[in-house]
């Protein structure tokens, strides 16, 4: 029987308070890490767990930490990515609002492992409630010696500062986030150098997602074999799935990594509302290409979804029903990327401008037969030619809609109207 750990306190009275967190064993993992493990041993433990980043890219977390050079003169930084702008995603918000100490404890353990004394928690500015709750949590943790100087009787020091975002999706891209933290426009940086070597203020920096860091105390507490015993061998662990869209029971679910998408949609999400059918599902936030209903027998893990031409991304699972026009959904997705393009590179900035124009006119019933070809060509010009993954995500989204639902696009063009209106 799978036992949820990340969401175990959600919905409990005062779940966000330190006293509640302590009552369920909170900060014991940090104490254990400080007493029983060297920083390198923590890195080995996390490597052994098989934990892969929950922010979208699935990079092995322990390996990322091991890239931070040891014993340098420069300070090291930990940045927690709580920008959560990927449409369809709300897991990090719920962790922060309901169980902020779980995140702070994970941050402290990571900081100990990489030798950082300063952490920045980059929270999107719209999350006012989460920001207030974390401000209080940081104060409480300080008062009880779980943050600050000489943490829990050790000689380890660690401070966490909240940095509020100001409404730019691109700040979720890790190097754009670093630019933003340094007070510049959030435009991605060229890699290499990778942040682990030269990140914030040119210092070694680890950037991890909220959910990734929230897994860490549980790995320290229960061991790496507990973690890698859950789900597929190459993408193990408990996982948060954000279910939204045309479902009876939208919500946040903690289940093993790798569970079939069909089970997630039909059993946990309750399937489509009365009288409707699921037509397609976006499995990992709108950056993840949509999968038609026939393809739902795929495991929700990094490798299985990549195998069917999509991705786990942020695990923002959006169900689309048969009353909905796919051209309209795809247009809305491209409008989003167009709006959020940072403008640094031409294929994304200009290409998405064109893509939006073409898709809007198709949706309005004013498309020409040559438009589909032109869209395909445009996607070819964007994909693989952009500075960061935002442009690629947009191109992949258009391609998936065209590939699986070409008949809907041609119906708009042939009939000169949207068949769903």
């Amino acid at each position: 029987m799978f036992e949820p750990v990340l969401l175990k306190s959600v919905g409990q009275p005062d779940s966000h308070s330190l006293s509640h967190y302590r009552s369920v064993g909170g900060y014991e993992a940090l104490q254990k890490a400080l007493n029983d493990y060297t920083p390198d041993e923590i890195i080995e433990l996390v490597k052994g767990s098989g934990l892969r980043g929950r922010g979208g890219a699935g990079f092995p977390t322990g390996l990322k930490w091991s890239f931070v050079p040891k014993g340098q003169e420069k300070p090291k930084y930990l940045c927690c990515n709580a920008d959560e702008g990927e449409p369809g995603t709300f897991k990090d918000r719920i962790i922060m609002e309901e169980d902020p100490h779980q995140l702070l404890e994970g941050m402290a353990i990571c900081a100990y492992a990489i030798g950082a004394e300063t952490g920045y928690l980059y929270i999107r500015g719209e999350y006012v409630k989460a920001i207030r709750i974390l401000e209080t949590a940081i104060r409480e943790a300080h008062a009880e010696g779980c943050l600050g100087r000489g943490i829990l009787g050790s000689d380890f020091n660690f401070e966490v500062h909240i940095h509020e975002g100001a409404g730019a999706y691109i700040c979720g891209e890790e190097t754009a986030m670093l630019e933003s933290l340094q007070g510049r426009r959030a435009q991605p940086r060229l890699k290499p150098p990778f942040p682990a070597v030269a990140g914030l203020y040119d210092s070694p920096t680890v950037i991890n997602n909220v959910e990734t860091l929230a897994c860490v105390p549980h790995i320290v507490e229960r061991g790496s074999s507990w973690f890698n015993g859950i789900g597929p061998e190459r993408s193990p662990g408990p996982k948060l799935y954000c279910l939204s869209g045309s479902l009876r029971k939208p919500g946040l679910y903690e289940l093993p990594m790798g569970i079939p998408l069909r089970e997630l949609i039909e059993e946990h999400g309750g399937g489509a509302p009365e009288g409707r059918q699921i037509k397609a599902v976006i499995p990992g936030g709108v950056s993840a290409p949509m999968i038609p209903a026939e393809g739902l027998d795929v495991g929700m893990d990094f490798d299985s979804l990549a195998g069917v031409g999509s991705m786990l991304g942020s695990a923002g699972v959006i169900a689309i029903d048969d009353n909905t026009c796919i051209v309209k959904v795809a247009t809305r997705i491209v409008e989003f990327f167009h709006h959020e393009s940072c403008g640094k590179c031409t294929p994304c900035r200009e290409g998405l401008d064109w893509a939006v124009k073409i898709m809007r006119r198709i949706e309005a019933g004013e498309g020409a037969p040559t438009d589909l070809e032109q869209l395909e060509r445009l996607c070819g010009g964007i994909f693989g030619n952009t500075f960061c993954a935002l442009g690629d995500g947009a191109a992949m989204g258009i391609r998936a809609a065209l590939m699986h639902f070409k008949d809907e696009f041609t119906a708009h063009i042939d009939e000169g109207r949207c068949p769903y209106h």
């Binding site: 449409p87 409630k129 100001a166 007070g183 203020y201 939204s244 869209g245 309209k328 959904v329």
Partner: protein, 163 residues
């Protein structure tokens, strides 16, 4: 222009979190916006002076990030999410409803300066779609009736404040 004393103090306190003053521009703009409602050229210059940073650095952030307003907004900012998950649960109809009830189009402010109506990208609360952010607060699982009740409450609150 002289910033209120506590604003200066709050900006200076915020800057202590960073080894570099430039990093404090975003938090400083947040503080200034709360103080003044929106960011005029004078306010931006004041922020630059308090932090001792280049004015252009402050300007470029104020114009890059969507949560910074260089133009006035109404007393209550209604920000309706119309991204995919909300769209699938009726955000469009809600937008039309609000435009009609308020007598303004998306992006506009009511004549009395009370409400500004905007659509925004995903608010990260799609489990309660359709969602609207009103000031600092999220309101989810909305329908036309709930919107009407919400607007009535907001109006009543304002009338009370006026008395």
């Amino acid at each position: 222009m002289n910033a209120p004393l506590d604003m200066r103090a709050r900006i200076e306190a915020a800057a202590e979190a960073y080894p570099d003053q430039r990093s404090a521009i975003m938090p400083a703009l947040m503080i200034a916006q709360k103080e003044y409602g929106h960011l005029t050229g004078d306010v931006l210059e004041e922020v630059a002076d308090i932090l001792g940073v280049e004015r252009i650095w402050v300007y470029e952030l104020a114009t890059f990030y969507t949560l910074f307003h260089t133009e006035p907004v109404g007393q209550v900012h209604l920000q309706l999410c119309d991204n995919v998950s909300c769209m699938l649960r009726g955000a469009e109809a809600l937008l039309r409803h609000m435009e009609q009830v308020l007598g303004i189009a998306e992006g506009e402010t009511t004549g009395d300066g009370m409400f500004t109506l905007s659509t925004v990208e995903c608010l990260g609360a799609c489990e309660m779609a359709p969602v609207m952010q009103v000031g600092d607060d999220y309101h989810g699982n909305l329908d036309a009736d709930r919107i009407d009740a919400l607007l009535a409450t907001l109006r009543a609150r304002r009338e009370k404040a006026d008395v």
